[in-house]
């Protein structure tokens, strides 16, 4: 008997102690919402500051800010979704948006437009990025586009004056060769983009197709993909690309990418990364478009870099929408947020921010303005399984880079694979 009592006390004592420890949500406020985002120290600070402003402006509503890094975010999100315990407001990525909408995890925003959510000052283009099947499910909180970041000093030293907004793939190849030559191979022209599906997508669109069709089938042809791989293969054979071993990873940490580590003069990024790239580099960065095809269609597109969505599990959608509305319209909040999550879609906000831009921020906003009329429409929504197709693309591209497969043959296999993945996901 003595034993079990002792044991009992040990257990319950620990439990009781533990139960009292975490700071439980304050009971003073009557309404509370949760906002969950993936972040970094800078973003977290800004967001908590915004929460403070919101709570000050809306007495009686408390906001619980929840944050974690990108990789862990989706694990936690999936777990909370499964437990039907999603935060009221969640940050969404274009890649995952459709997965979550189609599975019914997010709420439609249309009923709130003009009814709590003021979008009168919102650019129409960015808004459409958050639509699925004609309904708005996600509010763009920052726009984005593909970009080739280049090292302006290396360009200058090599005497390159090419117009990098309007350049063609031939121009690009020549620039790469010139740089490699002028630096004696010390700095290669560019990173090898063979495994980068986002850049390949631009190439396919320049051919007048998209990777996924409206119905979610793979409509890119093996020739599209093979042509893309062949382009990089030729450049690689000319010695103008980064070595193979460093070109097989489509998810390199920013610090390992060629232009940052000094291996290459050009690397591919998303435009909201320009500021971050600059912070890791001594030389000044420039922003170039993905090269064009003469007489081709526009390949690049402006995509939302991040969304805010209202979850299925929200218990107080009205308060959540208030928060969302302030996020895009309240001058005090938008000033705190700045460009950190991407370019805001509210022109008023952009105007108000302009005087305080850093040089790198100016590069990214100027780039954004310069490409406005050179981009195509947003591609159709990605079907279920798109993430897996991306992985398959990386695998196939790896085989080509390593010389284990010919572009044409690898492309045919990949297209078959991709369609099979999509079929299975249905």
């Amino acid at each position: 008997m003595a034993i079990s009592r002792r044991k009992f006390l040990a257990t319950t004592g620990g439990v009781a102690l533990a139960a009292g420890l975490p700071s439980l949500p304050a009971l003073a406020q009557d309404r509370s919402i949760r906002h969950f985002w993936w972040g970094n120290p800078d973003r977290d600070r800004r967001t908590f500051d915004v929460i403070e402003v919101f709570e000050k402006n809306h007495e009686g509503i408390s906001v619980s800010g929840e944050t974690i890094g990108w990789g862990d975010y989706w694990t936690k999100m999936a777990t909370q979704t499964a437990g039907r315990n999603m935060a009221d407001l969640v940050q969404m990525d274009y890649r995952f948006l459709f997965e979550y909408v189609r599975r019914g995890a997010l709420q439609e925003l249309d009923p709130f437009i003009g009814n709590g959510l003021d979008l009168s000052n919102f650019d129409k283009g960015p808004l459409s990025g958050g639509m699925v099947d004609g309904k708005l499910y996600a509010l763009n909180i920052g726009s984005n586009s593909q970009v080739f970041v280049y090292n302006t000093k290396v360009f200058e030293d090599a005497g390159i004056t090419t117009d990098v907004i309007n350049w063609t793939w031939d121009d690009f190849a020549n620039v790469c060769k010139t740089i490699t030559e002028k630096t004696g191979g010390k700095i290669k022209g560019s990173d090898d983009c063979s495994v980068v599906l986002e850049t390949c997508e631009c190439w396919i669109r320049q051919n007048g197709r998209t990777f996924f069709g409206e119905e979610g089938d793979v409509i890119a042809t093996p020739e599209d993909i093979a042509g893309y791989w062949q382009f990089w293969l030729d450049l690689r054979n000319a010695g103008a690309l980064r070595e193979k071993d460093k070109s097989l990873d489509a998810n390199l940490p920013m610090s390992d990418v060629g232009v940052v580590s000094g291996d290459t003069a050009i690397s591919n990024f998303w435009s909201n990364q320009i500021v971050g790239v600059q912070a890791l580099m001594q030389d000044t960065v420039g922003a170039a478009m993905v090269p064009h095809k003469p007489d081709g269609e526009p390949g690049q597109f402006i995509k939302p870099s991040m969304f805010m969505s209202l979850s299925r599990d929200s218990k107080d959608p009205e308060a959540a929408i208030m928060y969302m509305n302030d996020w895009i319209n309240d001058p005090e909040e938008t000033k705190i947020l700045g460009l950190e999550r991407g370019i805001p879609a509210n022109p008023e906000v952009r105007k108000a921010l302009a005087p305080d831009f850093t040089p790198a921020e100016k590069v990214s906003v100027d780039y954004f303005n310069a490409i406005q009329d050179k981009v195509g429409p947003l591609p159709p929504p990605e079907p279920k399984g798109a993430g897996e197709v991306r992985d398959a693309f990386i695998r196939a591209g790896t085989d080509v880079v390593l010389g284990n497969a010919e572009p044409q043959q690898a492309a045919e296999l990949f297209i078959d694979d991709a369609q099979a993945i999509i079929d299975r996901a249905r």
């Binding site: 079990s4 044991k7 599975r103 990873d249 998810n251 790896t398």
Partner: protein
């Protein structure tokens, strides 16, 4: 009869915390995962019963499943024995009884403290990069290195090296076991003039057998379940051409990246059967080489 119930009573009394934990917290989720393995479950909607579909697909059509198995076996075969030998070797050296030994123990354990953190991932990628330290050392011997992590035919070995480098946990357990061996056995052997080799075979190994057995079983289980190092070093992808796609990384991606929790649960149960088989074999053979002090059964 009375004795039996009295014995049961004290047995269960001591087992109570575990029994509570097992029946209240563990068995439920385990059975749910078994159930889910017979469903399609995307974690947002409700699971849908599909019978044996997941298992059939796994064994007949899923190339990556086989690839993951291959990578995992590869890892287990190299990592388990090498890590154990390393751990036992160092533990015996430390057991020799240097006075300043505390510091040494800490040094040998330090690498294991780093676990599979992000710092380790960055570090490992740098070490084994084409222009990394490993290749610089090899260059001294006139060997031209490659990008070890980015090359699909070598990347798995960088994980094996990591596993060996982090030998601290089994080492510490060996050390604890070695300290438990009565010193007088060795003293008696010394008086008889027994060779060091013979002492190792006749005293150390048999006396240490229960601890060796523990380490062996645990290392097998852990190696089959290895996740963090492969996940972190390959940035969650399983590495170039799936060369670091160990089983649980595949399982994790199926579950949390592609929303196939049902399928992932199926994968988990197959892994459980595999690990269970190896563990059962280890237990069955232990009769012949693991003897417990004065144990009757």
């Amino acid at each position: 009869m009375k004795r039996l119930s009295a014995r049961n009573a004290s047995g269960y009394m001591f087992l109570t915390p575990w029994l509570l934990g097992f029946f209240l917290l563990a068995i439920g989720p385990i059975l749910v995962s078994l159930y889910l393995s017979f469903t399609r479950y995307d974690m947002v909607g409700d699971p849908r019963w599909v019978g044996f579909d997941n298992y059939v697909y796994m064994f007949t059509r899923d190339r990556r499943f086989w690839k993951a198995l291959e990578v995992t076996f590869h890892y287990v075969i190299f990592a388990v024995p090498l890590r154990l030998i390393m751990a036992l070797g160092v533990a015996m050296l430390l057991d020799k009884g240097l006075k300043t030994i505390g510091l040494y123990r800490a040094i040998f354990y330090l690498p294991s403290l780093l676990g599979a953190s992000i710092a380790i991932a960055i570090l490992w990628r740098q070490l084994f990069a084409i222009d990394g330290v490993v290749n610089q050392v090899l260059a001294v011997f006139g060997i031209e290195g490659i990008g070890w992590i980015t090359n699909p035919s070598t990347s798995i070995y960088t994980l094996v090296v990591l596993a060996i480098w982090q030998f601290g946990a089994p080492m510490l357990i060996f050390l604890a076991g070695l300290r438990g061996i009565p010193r007088d056995l060795y003293e008696a052997a010394d008086i008889d003039g027994t060779s060091a080799f013979r002492k190792f075979y006749a005293i150390t190994l048999p006396m240490l057998a229960p601890v060796i057995f523990f380490n062996l079983v645990l290392q097998i289980i852990e190696a089959f379940k290895v996740f963090s190092p492969a996940f972190i070093i390959s940035n969650g992808t399983g590495g170039p051409a799936d060369s670091m796609l160990v089983y649980t990384v595949y399982l994790f991606n199926e579950a949390f990246k592609f929303f196939r929790m049902g399928y992932a649960s199926g994968l988990a149960w197959v892994l459980l059967v595999i690990i269970g088989t190896f563990t059962a074999i280890a237990f069955a053979t232990s009769k012949y080489w693991v003897h417990y002090e004065n144990e009757r059964d």
